[in-house]
């Protein structure tokens, strides 16, 4: 399977690689969220906006502490599924026990971390304008031109 992403200009003006994920809320309503492709993140993390969309009750930060360059931040633990659209037009579910942000932070991007990226060959090619995730029968070739 192949999933195409894109380069997105974020709120700080920096262009980053993302792939759109779709979530359902408790009433079946849909919303899409950009997931930052972050090979340096241990875990996939839903933004506060995505957590709110799911209708998850966030009263306490009961997830593990997240440690980044900017310091530590709490998280909430939840179980959820989100979908990526593969290039055959089929929504493909990913998920399980996820973490989420208990409050809005910065760009409010969701993060696709190593716990899911380990399934994929990840291509983030800024000069070529390519962002894609390859899984299963799809492979890539490196060539010299």
């Amino acid at each position: 399977m192949r999933f195409n992403g894109k380069w997105l200009e974020c709120q700080d003006g920096v262009i980053r690689p993302v792939v759109d994920g779709g979530l359902l809320d408790e009433t079946g309503g849909t919303e899409s969220f950009p997931f930052l492709i972050d090979t340096g993140a241990d875990r996939t993390l839903l933004s506060y906006e995505a957590v709110a969309h799911l209708g998850a009750e966030v009263e306490t930060a009961d997830g593990p502490v997240l440690e980044g360059v900017g310091g530590s931040t709490p998280s909430v633990a939840l179980r959820a599924t989100f979908w990526l659209l593969n290039t055959d037009g089929a929504p493909t579910p990913l998920g399980g026990p996820l973490l989420g942000r208990p409050y809005p932070v910065g760009d409010n991007l969701c993060i696709l971390g190593r716990d899911l990226l380990t399934h994929f060959a990840v291509i983030v090619d800024r000069p070529g304008g390519v962002v894609c995730l390859l899984h299963g029968r799809h492979r890539y070739v490196i060539q010299e031109t």
Binding site: M1, K6, Q11, D12, G13, D20, G22, G28, G29, T30, E31, S32, D38, G40, A41, D42, R43, T44, L45, E49, P64, V65, L66, E67, G68, V69, S72, S75, T81, W83, L85, N86, D88, G89, A90, P91, T92, P93, L94, G95, G96, P97, L98, L99, N108, I111, G113, D115, L116, T118, H119, H135
Partner: protein
């Protein structure tokens, strides 16, 4: 970089499922992704104008209409009010003021 202070689950791997086959769910999610791509493309086509006219404000794009406001929630609420039950897939962003050249 995000490291998780959770040694017992440090190498947890989540599941990737098989592509959906439920026609109702497939149609709903395809419509979402289609709208999301269309709205992002509309934003890209109008980005220069939007940055010129709305620096420092929050925007959403839905079906060729631009929503502008001073906070993301009020903008999202207006999209939802105009498209009850079918509001997903808007393009949402903060328009960062750009330095004058």
């Amino acid at each position: 970089m995000i490291r998780v202070n959770d040694p017992e689950n440090a190498d947890r791997v989540l599941a990737i499922g098989e592509p959906e086959t439920d026609p109702v769910l497939v149609a709903k999610l395809r419509a979402l992704f289609d709208r999301s791509a269309r709205n992002a493309a509309w934003y890209e086509a109008h980005a220069a104008e939007i940055h010129r006219e709305h620096p420092g404000r929050y925007i959403a794009v839905y079906d060729g209409r631009l929503y502008v406001g001073d906070d993301p929630k009020s903008v999202a609420d207006r999209v939802r009010a105009d498209h009850p039950g079918d509001w997903g897939g808007s393009f949402r962003s903060y328009i960062r003021p750009r330095p004058v050249a």
